[in-house]
Symmetry: C2
Subunit: 502 residues, 2 copies
Amino acid sequence: MNERIKNAALRAKLMSADDAARFVNHGDKVGMSGFTGSAYPKALPTAIAERARAEHEAGRDYTIDLFTGASTAPDCDGVLAEADALRFRAPYQSDPTMRAAINAGRMGYADMHLSHSAQQVEEGFFGALDVAIVEASQIDADGNLVPSSGVGNNVEYLNAASRIIVEVNSWQSIELDGMADIWQMPALPNRVAIPINKPGDRIGTTYIPIDASKVVAVVETDAPDRNAPFKPIDDISRQIAGNFLDFLEGEVRAGRLTYDGYIMQSGVGNVPNAVMARLLDSKFENIQAYTEVIQDGMVDLIDAGKMSVASATSFSLSPEYANKMNAEAKRYREHIITRPLQISNHPEVIRRVGLIATNGMIEADLYGHVNSTRVAGSRIMNGIGGSGDFTRNGYISSFISPSVAQDGAISAIVPFASHIDHTEHDVMVVITEHGFADLRGLTPRERARRMVQVAHPDYRPLLEDYLERAEAASVKAMHEPHHLATALAFHQNLNETGSMRG
Amino acid sequence: MNERIKNAALRAKLMSADDAARFVNHGDKVGMSGFTGSAYPKALPTAIAERARAEHEAGRDYTIDLFTGASTAPDCDGVLAEADALRFRAPYQSDPTMRAAINAGRMGYADMHLSHSAQQVEEGFFGALDVAIVEASQIDADGNLVPSSGVGNNVEYLNAASRIIVEVNSWQSIELDGMADIWQMPALPNRVAIPINKPGDRIGTTYIPIDASKVVAVVETDAPDRNAPFKPIDDISRQIAGNFLDFLEGEVRAGRLTYDGYIMQSGVGNVPNAVMARLLDSKFENIQAYTEVIQDGMVDLIDAGKMSVASATSFSLSPEYANKMNAEAKRYREHIITRPLQISNHPEVIRRVGLIATNGMIEADLYGHVNSTRVAGSRIMNGIGGSGDFTRNGYISSFISPSVAQDGAISAIVPFASHIDHTEHDVMVVITEHGFADLRGLTPRERARRMVQVAHPDYRPLLEDYLERAEAASVKAMHEPHHLATALAFHQNLNETGSMRG
């Protein structure tokens, strides 16, 4: 195992996770590695949680503020939330225990565009960062960190923190060396262009240089990334994927896309995975991903020779695919690039490469405003993540979702979104199992008519009733008519009766 | 006058505006110059409006779809709306007659991020562009167009259109030659980095090359840009400006800004103009603007030696300042750069230069969502313009507004924004005459407490009542509590009684 810590000075800092946790104090602001269940520290979170419990039992305060790349896993966010060890969390989470703590008002959460997170931490918008806790697949002889299954905000957190704790995880393939592409943006006011023109461009080093004098502990681990397997593709997902392909084919017919070189961004989940599966037997070749997370379906596309390159900040794979990656990292690193989150999600590169963004949603309203984060306006699910980075700056933005959830109790198309993460100015195409609503170039009222068509048939009459009511109430405000007294009625019904139908 | 048309082939296309209007047919999609009352065509709009009237009187259909840089003036948007000559308008308007037509449902409007507009027109999201009608200050010997008081989307419209009509306006100073910086982005998929690192960087030509074979008409004009004078600065604007300066001073104390080299983006209006006036006697030096419109206050800063360079897509000046510009364009072009709108508002450059964005708003809600466009959710005012481009990608985003409008009948701080153009993920600082709410790094409930403090004292108890009600209704949804039944009550009151207080 020590062969993965090639630098003697850092090897001398080896200690147990419990000993390392002594460097993490009450009130500390802590930046951790971790992006969508990958590359998060496996030992320190539990050790910190135990320390928090012991302090609480002794009647002392102990909480930290936690920043990551994005979501982690039960053995990171989960154990910390369980132990009430967090005062504040940013920029993203998806752990059920943590979500419950946030929705109970027991801990604070700032839900942020991922492309903004490193900059805001570096610039001190949250105060100074005390500790960085970062997983690596190895430490090279010069003391540089070789990333494991993702990069996230590691570069910036390692730069900003006063103290560094490194976890060297031998479960991660040693052959990941060469997959990462680390490029550091000069600080303001000396920023320059990011020299990436195509998703496959490599512009930096394969390792993260660090200030070794800040390293207070190195910890050995051997635990897997904990990602859930995908569900088998169901009929609804298959229909959505088919409609997405119809939309792509339409872009080819319009001369805006060719079968060679479609550049994809995709959110994570079962429906996006169904889209990947559908692309496997499509006419599209040389597909490229400029995205934030690589998931199973992209690995299949790479294996089938359909995807030439996938650029992201991490890979988040089901256990079966993670094993495949660990066995064949040397082959996959020819096709996969992991970058700092600030680069994978940077508005500059996203706009330049001209990608088609595809993300899930909770709901969209008749005028095309999208809610990605809050059920009935208040209850946080996960967070906006990078969906805004790609939606705003992509060449075309699309959202994919089943038209209903919870056996039809919840409609994904509503009169007025109860929370808005993506505005009508950003949302171009909305796709359900009932077709795709291409909202480009339309006025709000034209958009509304298209949106009704992709709603579930059970909800279409209710949406049409709303539009009639809204237009009747808006004689001198016909640009985007609303009937304010019933604009949120679907959500009030849901809160009161458990169904949007009331 | 003909000395301004130095190319013989184009001089041969000289004709009257009425004759030129024969090239603009029913159903055409027309791209015009024009950005915030500047550089719009002065003759063709009236000629097209007259043609529309004649056709309508003869019982024939005649409407066009109109695309510009942004707003124009009464003698462009106004006359066209008055004549019911438009079916559809994008990406921005602010004319009272046109606004009334849109709100009456008589014409369609798509309200867009300005940074998206050229790309979407070029890529055919609205269909093919038939005609480009562009004002120039002169045509050079090679047939290139020298821009007048702005560039807007001229480059892309001239490229995309089948037919070109040029208006050469001798009211505009001939000395504007040298102010513009025209750089053309290679088309997808061959885009490259925009080589601007600082607001003052010049990267292109001072003229727009065109395909002369597409020019069907050249028209001479001699009419001024029609911009309204600013109101004298009132006490409320002065207080807001003072609070804005306090915020800037805080950034200096936090080490995130220095007195040398503050990079400003500013929306247009009386309050922003008050901010400029306040900067005149501040400690800030070498102020630079990377913005979309240059207004009077920036000219004062340039004259005082406080602003070294202002980059924008147009200048929109009061009559007095426009005369000054016309008299001294040679001096001002040393400090002012006009760029294509796609470059002035490009996410890439905005993010790179690290500017502080400052825009007006209609309302912000307790959690920091901002409505820039719709009164009570439905009635369009102007449009989002470039506010989203700068807010999303700026280093710091701020919104400035009086806390109430219409003698207190309307609060700028509301429980739930009736329309959302800028989400909580984008909005950092909200400034009224009662102080500034710095929302950075806060949870939604913490944000709400700050927002109450910048509301008008008359509305604070109502907002606090709402928060109590919302928290009581959201026991399991305490992340961002709302009380849906009364979330829009301020706006319902306004619609029913004329006051948000009800």
